[in-house]
Subunit: 452 residues, 2 copies
Amino acid sequence: MSEMKSEKRKIGEITKEEVSLFADSYELTMAQAHLERDHNIISSFDLSFRDIPSNRGYMLAAGLEDVVKCIESITFEEEAISFLREIGFKQDLCDYLSDFSFTGDLRAVPEGSVVFQSEPIIEITAPIVEAQILETMLINQIGFQSLVATKAARVYDVVQKYGQNQSLIEFGARRAHGIEAGIKASRAAYIGGFEGTSNLAAGAIYGIPVMGTMAHSWMQSYDTEEEAFESFIETYGEDSILLIDTYDTIIGAKKVKSIVQTKGVKIKGVRLDSGDLVSLSKKVKGIIEDLGIYITSGLDEYKIDLFLKEGGVATGFGVGGNLVTSQDSPVAEIVYKLVQTERDGERTPCMKLSEGKQTYPGEKSIRRVIKNGKYQRDILALRGESVDGEEQLVDVYINGELVYDLPELEVIRRRAKDSISALPESCKKIEGQERYRVEISKGIDALIKTLL
Amino acid sequence: MSEMKSEKRKIGEITKEEVSLFADSYELTMAQAHLERDHNIISSFDLSFRDIPSNRGYMLAAGLEDVVKCIESITFEEEAISFLREIGFKQDLCDYLSDFSFTGDLRAVPEGSVVFQSEPIIEITAPIVEAQILETMLINQIGFQSLVATKAARVYDVVQKYGQNQSLIEFGARRAHGIEAGIKASRAAYIGGFEGTSNLAAGAIYGIPVMGTMAHSWMQSYDTEEEAFESFIETYGEDSILLIDTYDTIIGAKKVKSIVQTKGVKIKGVRLDSGDLVSLSKKVKGIIEDLGIYITSGLDEYKIDLFLKEGGVATGFGVGGNLVTSQDSPVAEIVYKLVQTERDGERTPCMKLSEGKQTYPGEKSIRRVIKNGKYQRDILALRGESVDGEEQLVDVYINGELVYDLPELEVIRRRAKDSISALPESCKKIEGQERYRVEISKGIDALIKTLL
């Protein structure tokens, strides 16, 4: 008997078909016409936040690992090609796609770095058809993951401000926009400073510590609250975190105290999920002072800030839907724009002038001026231009070859912490933050004048 | 040679491993304890919007098809089991999961129906461990897809109000929260009334009409705007939609007019993507009156309403990020709560009293009172209670067997249109909408009094 080899996917893996057809049809409409017109010219595209959201002082870059995985796995299989033929694409395009692979250069800001308005998180130089086929996937993966990583960093930073060292657990799987979103949001939250997730799949894929307590259904499934608490403690002993708000939080806390005293067990703590959390947490602390108090219920950086400002007592926070959807800024203003074309070896920088949506021309360099470990300002410059500061873009692909070692998640997370601590305090405020200074280099300025 | 059989996934398909491990760890923590304590009692859970968002007058239910696909495919493979063992789950739970399949009942509101606060979109009756293992996936799929379908319906409804019959194309793939989100958002938008998508994958999976124009990069890749327009027309002829805002919208429109006249071709139209869209669209109409005008650029129901109110001229709208993220309400307040337990054949309704998060006890019935084809009010009743109105819940699973024929997408879309047109106008306003009346039945009222 011959060996049966199954092509079983790992969880979270992206299929070739998903990546290849996850494109806006205009990418292929343009591809077809470019090929037909022999106009598959070398082009450079910038992927950048046109602007960072008005309620953010910085963006934490995330998603590059998935971009690389997508580029590595993109293949137009027969099923995809048939579909394209069916909806009217021509044989020449189909033949081209059957052989598709990325042959260009890709430079990127490493995951866990901070970026600002107009700075290319990714810059691709490749035949225009290749560069365009990747567009939708690039914007999708980098935009969403950067939004969640940034939101997580804001939550993390607020907690640091009060110096009480609460643990931060991401609880958002159920409120994320799909299974993939839930899994990748856990990773992004971990990058941004969270220390665990409730999401088992994210634990399995990324090795993020998995944490969990109990739901209200546990409490309700027993005739009395006491019985529910006791049953859980019998199974989990000192790991138990008991949810005390199912009927009345204060009465729940008193019951826990009495059970803990009677049984002589030490448990981990209690969870509060409703009501006036500040006042309840203080009262609960008065009742069971040596136990942890875990707070959940629609939290985000604003609510945690207020909670701590008002003297709420917490050992840890569970943050869910507002984090994984970047609730106050769920749409990334992230764009992918042509900045240069090359014909017969001659490079022509280009820009669009659309009202409120202008772009900066030319292949870029992001230079960060750092003094005593603190970020002073960035200079958006032309590639190769002689300007101050440390280059932020690294080579990821050269001539279609992957030349970048994808870093471990812990390395990315550490980079995020370091980056955020190097930011000016004024950018890190959760409201009324100041804009970080991004200067446009003389080279770009001169180029714009020439092009206009 | 023996046949090699590959287990290749279709695009958009969910893997067994993804579904099984896409769960919050507390589901398994509780499962383990329930099993250990021989407490795997029959339980009923309601999946409902605790409240519909304050900026929505109704919710359009979507996602049931994916829930069924997930339930059908859920299997804990050895890889998943190993991971669970590794992070400390016990052998008894692992053995149970290895054999897992859903054996319970599931009733649901069909996709494309409208639902309101506290109404169970899904009600499950099953051994508590089974019911809990599905929790995260259920909330995730129904919540996200219903948010997008609802947002789409609001956009659709605004366009209907002005009676100009503009086409609505969903352009959101790039701004959705991941690839799965982009694909499923296209389906949800189609259910809510959109007529096409730019997303090729959604076209391939669901047969949704795929549409696309050109990007700014096309325009920029040619030396002159004229050359770019002419080249596109040479390839696409009368299907061409030309993007005219790359440099100056009015000049762009004049160039298009001149090319169209000189060449004697009729094209489909032009696209505007920036600037003051109302004023520009009117001016463009004055220049090229017999061509279509397609409007894009951060649109949503509010902006389209304003655009049409102010006399903007459009043949169609492309709506993206704000739609697919449900930008003004990206987090669904959707919950999954225990409403009844059963032991030794005796059913015990239950409720939680947590402040602001109370639940209604017992297995439910949603009755909709309809007069002359218009929805008057709903009555949330106990299952089997004698009350007015048409039952909204249908059987999907009975004793683990799928008894529901998943309807075609067109049927769901038609149901959505009919449901929305049957709603009171006051619920459909995009701002300042009134709440639809959901009465609590005498049966539930009496039950609450008894339980308190």
